[in-house]
């Protein structure tokens, strides 16, 4: 346990009852330039990440995500590694009365139940949205997670790190029980990048949808793009369709709308969350326009 922001909640709700808790407060909590990018220790407080000058200057999408996590108290205690590895906030998962699929039960209660905050992508069988706000820009920036285990350290592409429920129902990532995330490593960003999150409440809430976009530019033209959405799928959801729309274009509102439409074209809403398509389209559009420095109307 580092900040304990997620673990304590899981324990209080009797979702997990560990026999033993190991302190990981000793993990690296520094942020340092590395190669042309940056290396962030897993025990870095989210507040420190949000305030870091280098992060704010080079990785605005990450800064946006960091500064809107939880509350000041959560950001002061919560760590980068904890944010990446936190368990889903699905209200069926978190509620003791519902023995859902993810907890070893036989069904996902969201399918025929209350799913207004659930996934609009993925084939199930579990329909959580991934809770990490930081993972979204990390993938957009092409980052890696450095993982330590019994056989030493390895780097895993952040885009390959998270797993869909049909691959891994009881966890959300490739991380093994005997491994731990020690660092987040980001390469140099594109010339332009930004994030945008839509929250129901402006104080202490989870995003309804979020988007991070990282643009490698050639003058005013997008050479290549990385676009990732949050809170829409069981993993941070990269849209290569939207990236293709942006590549080779000069960003205008029309292009941003086209990218947003492409990003959500394959969405499959549940019975009660079709509205999230509109919300996610808006997040994509505004992230793209914000990255390009174009005001939206």
């Amino acid at each position: 346990m580092a900040g304990g922001m997620d673990l304590l909640g899981l324990m209080k709700d009797y979702i997990v009852s560990p026999d033993r808790i190991v302190s990981i407060k000793g993990l690296d909590q520094t942020i340092a330039g590395a190669d042309s990018g940056i290396r962030i220790g897993a025990a870095t407080k989210i507040a420190d990440l949000a305030d870091n000058v280098l992060v704010r200057k080079m990785y605005p999408a990450l800064a946006t995500a960091a500064e809107s996590v939880g509350t000041p108290q959560i950001r002061n205690m919560g760590t980068v590694g904890g944010n990446i590895m936190q368990r889903p906030r699905c209200w069926y998962f978190r509620n003791e009365e519902f023995n859902c699929l993810k907890k070893g039960g036989s069904r996902c209660f969201a399918v025929e139940g209350e799913n207004q905050f659930h996934a609009i992508f993925g084939d199930g069988p579990c329909h959580i949205v991934h809770p990490s706000s930081l993972a979204v820009p990390v993938i957009a920036y092409g980052g890696k997670f450095r993982v330590a285990g019994p056989n030493g350290s390895r780097d895993i592409d952040a885009g390959e790190f998270f797993q869909m429920p049909n691959t891994n129902l009881y966890g959300e990532s490739v991380l093994q029980p005997n491994e731990i995330v020690t660092h987040v490593i980001l390469p140099a960003p594109g010339q332009r990048s930004a994030g945008y999150e839509v929250r129901f409440k402006q104080s202490h809430d989870w995003p309804l949808a979020a988007a991070s976009v990282n643009l490698v530019m050639s003058g005013q033209t997008v050479k290549s793009a990385r676009l990732v959405m949050g809170a829409v799928a069981p993993v941070p959801w990269r849209s290569q369709a939207a990236e293709r729309v942006l590549a080779g274009k000069t960003i205008t509102e029309a292009i941003a709308v086209e990218a947003a439409n492409a990003a959500l074209a394959s969405a499959k809403p549940m019975s009660g969350n079709a509205y999230k398509i509109r919300v996610a389209k808006t997040a994509v559009k505004r992230a793209v326009l914000r990255a390009a420095g174009v005001a939206w109307s």
Binding site: Y14, R89, W91, Y92, N95, E96, E97, F98, F109, E112, G113, E114, Q116, F117, V198, R199, F200, K201, Q202, S203, H204, D205, L208, V257, G272, N273, A274, Y275, R278, V279, K281, T282, K285, W296, S297
Partner: protein
């Protein structure tokens, strides 16, 4: 004041001062420093020697029959000192969280862990999670004698005539959600037995009522029960007795032979400690071409949970001369409703006020003008016609566009308004006042300060009456050993307690004067109160004083003053000790108010940002302008939550609540709270009237109308979530 005001009843002896020194000023809470430094001890903070922690055994199911229960493992669990099971095989539970037993253990964690060792087998029965499920003809009959109960039915005038006179009609179904009280301090208590005597520290709105409840529920003499609530973190109508956990706590404390603390957690709060019932209204209403309302016809229903009612006033305030309404209570498998901040009013206000804006559009009238045309006549308890223009000025109503902001872009602005009323008249409080020879003043009254500032305004009235400063007065409240005062509900506390303060302090003053008059050598009617002083007027009948003063100045002064301390010193060893009570002529009831909302809606996200709320509200004689305003702030924030955020969400298949927390049960945080502009209208001639509830009534309707004005789409259902708003915008033709 309006000329129609009846001649106000004035107390013959202790009328409110015409030129008050403290009353009506802005006094900060006298217990504020204690609260912000953590020295104020709420029930939650009480620690007793050897105290155990209690937890309640609850049903995880909404509807089930008990097959078997085995608590032997829990009884033997580490730390467990007492365990009580109150259900037997064959018994049914009707809502999730229903209480089926309790236990006490040495630590909170041991108690929580032990709960999970109780082996319970249930026959899970079909649960009713929504009113629709309960009302279906094929619905299982869960409640006896039926899932629904016919409530009030009214008819007035002639509906046919009313609709014949209508140039336009509006038809629609309106609805409001279930809102839970979500008091910051949860329900609960600490129970400590001393032989057959019970002392209970309870988070309650009624210390005396809770004593009666403990005695009745435990079948013990009221004389054996003492209830203490020194500080209290909100109840909003949900805390009027020992409650289920109170009786369970007392019983396990007795069994364990130790004090037990049993405070509920947030989940238990949402599930079992009350809520505002949902409301549905299928309405047809008519308006004449000249903008006069003609007819109102409504079938209404709602749910107060498992076997509790859901009625509310409708139509609200505006005059529909011809009307008919029938109400049906619908029962579902959820925790029961309790009184919640102006029970019924926010529901009736929302339905009526949204309908009013729709009707105004049909006759192409400004919604405020339309309201002015259909209000009851102006009266001291019905001041809306005066307040609407006042509020309009402060919200810049003249900048309002017609329905649907024509400004391009995703951000739409809008304004809306609505009206509220409430009673707020109380009575029956008693008090005891002592003045010591050292000048100290103690006022004891078995009322309670549930977070409203009651303690502060009590001190203000006593200080005003005795010519002292607020900090020279000691207020003791929140103890059933103190003189009786009624429970704090219905916004009645200020109107019940302030007259008792005025009368009792006045009697204490009179008693002081009588005691010291002989020693001052003057008739008692020559003594009066100054500020921090006692004044003795000098007349020819007072030869001693005359002689003294003449000797001093050669000219007879009209009075001399003695410091409060010196005057009290004349009491010697025996204090002034008097009883007093609420008396007529110092308080009243019947408040009115209006609210206006200025909102901004992002039609591409469905997010509403409330920019500003204007509140024009009267509450008779304002005792403390500051605490009266904070009552408005609290009410408005609660109303804003009702409009946009709060909603108890039950899983439709199991009737279990999916958001029994403050994470998905959304409530405004600092960044969601708008500028709030409160205009308090002082009516000193009416005496004190309560203000706790009325400000909470109108906000949701004003916000909903502002959203309608901004977006051009009519939302007849709250909360107005991004989900509902975007769905309605799509239906209206999409956003881009």
């Amino acid at each position: 004041m309006d000329s129609q005001a009846p001649a106000p009843a004035q107390h013959p002896k202790y009328a409110w001062p015409e030129k008050p020194r403290l009353i009506g000023t802005r006094v900060s809470r006298i217990d504020g420093p204690l609260k912000v430094t953590g020295r104020a001890k709420y029930s939650y903070d009480i620690l007793r020697p050897g105290m155990l922690y209690g937890r309640i055994v609850r049903s995880p199911h909404a509807h089930a029959r008990l097959k078997s229960i085995d608590a032997t493992a829990a009884e033997k669990a580490p730390g467990v000192k007492a365990l009580l099971i109150t259900i037997k095989p064959g018994d049914k539970v009707l809502y999730p969280g229903q209480e089926i037993g309790a236990l006490a253990a040495a630590t909170e964690q041991q108690a929580a862990d032990a709960l999970r060792l109780i082996k319970v087998e249930w026959d899970v029965l079909p649960a009713l999670a929504t009113v629709e499920q309960s009302m279906r003809p094929e619905a299982p009959q869960v409640f006896t004698p039926a899932n629904t109960r016919r409530g009030t039915a009214q008819e007035d005038g002639n509906l046919d005539t009313g609709f014949a006179a209508a140039a336009h009609t509006v038809e629609g179904t309106y609805s409001t959600q279930v809102q839970t009280h979500t008091s910051l301090e949860t329900h609960g208590c600490i129970c400590e037995w001393n032989g057959e005597n019970l002392t209970a520290w309870v988070s309650t709105q009624a210390v005396h009522g809770t004593r009666e409840g403990f005695a009745a529920g435990l079948k013990i003499p009221q004389a054996n029960v003492r209830v203490i609530t020194e500080f209290m973190g909100g109840g909003f109508g949900s805390k009027f007795g020992p409650d289920i956990q109170g009786l369970l706590c007392a019983r396990v404390a007795k069994a364990a032979g130790a004090p037990v603390k049993m405070m509920l957690d947030r989940k238990e709060e949402h599930l079992t400690t009350g809520n505002r019932p949902s409301a549905f209204a299928r309405v047809r209403a008519g308006v004449a071409a000249d903008g006069k309302l003609t007819a109102f016809d409504a079938q209404t229903w709602g749910t107060g949970g498992a076997g509790a009612g859901s009625d509310y006033p409708l139509p609200y305030i505006y005059t529909f001369p011809n009307r008919r309404r029938t109400h049906t209570d619908v029962y579902i498998n959820s925790g029961q409703q309790r009184a919640m901040r102006a029970p019924g009013h926010p529901q009736g206000c929302f339905v009526t006020e949204v309908l009013m804006d729709e009707l105004a559009d049909r006759v192409r009238m400004d919604p405020m003008e339309f309201r002015l045309k259909n209000l009851p006549p102006l009266a001291p308890n019905a001041m809306w016609a005066k307040y609407f223009p006042m509020g309009a000025e402060r919200i810049n109503w003249k900048s309002r566009h017609v329905t649907g902001d024509p400004t391009p872009g995703p951000i739409k602005r809008g304004l809306g308004c609505s009206a509220n009323r409430w009673g707020g008249a109380g009575q029956g409080a008693r008090a005891h006042c002592e003045i010591g020879s050292d000048g100290s003043v103690v006022m004891r009254c078995g009322t309670q300060d549930i977070g409203t500032g009651n303690r502060t305004i009590m001190a203000m009235v006593v200080a005003e009456t005795l010519g002292l400063e607020v900090n020279q007065v000691t207020i003791e409240l929140g103890d059933s050993n103190q003189p009786f005062a009624p429970g704090s509900g219905g916004s009645t506390t200020a109107a019940a307690v302030m007259p008792a303060m005025r009368v009792t302090a006045g009697k204490a003053r009179d008693a002081l004067f009588e005691r010291i008059a002989p020693q001052l050598g003057v008739p008692v009617d020559q003594i009066s109160m100054g500020v921090g002083t006692v004044l003795v007027s000098l007349s020819t009948r007072d030869p001693l004083s005359d002689a003294q003063s003449a000797a001093r100045s050669g000219q007879a002064p009209s009075s001399r003053s003695i410091s409060w301390r010196d005057a009290c010193r004349l009491l010697g060893t025996i204090p002034v000790s008097v009883d007093g009570q609420w008396e007529r002529g110092l308080s009243a009831g019947g408040t009115s108010g209006v609210q206006f909302a200025d909102v901004e809606v992002d039609i591409e996200t469905g997010i509403t940002k409330v920019r500003k709320i204007v509140c024009v509200q009267d509450c008779g004689l304002i005792v403390d302008a500051k605490t009266a305003e904070t009552q408005c702030y609290g009410g408005i924030i609660s109303g804003l939550n009702y409009a946009v955020f709060e909603e108890r969400i039950l899983d439709r298949n199991t009737a279990n609540m999916v958001n029994p927390n403050m994470e998905w049960y959304h409530m405004a945080g600092q960044s969601d709270i708008p500028e709030i502009d409160v205009v308090l209208v002082d009516q000193p001639e009416r005496g004190v009237i309560g203000i706790g509830e009325p400000p909470a009534v109108a906000t949701a309707a004003a916000v909903a109308n502002a959203i309608r004005n901004a977006t051009g789409v009519t939302l007849r259902s709250i909360p107005i979530t991004p989900d509902r708003l975007l769905t309605e915008l799509e239906r209206a033709g999409g956003t881009n």
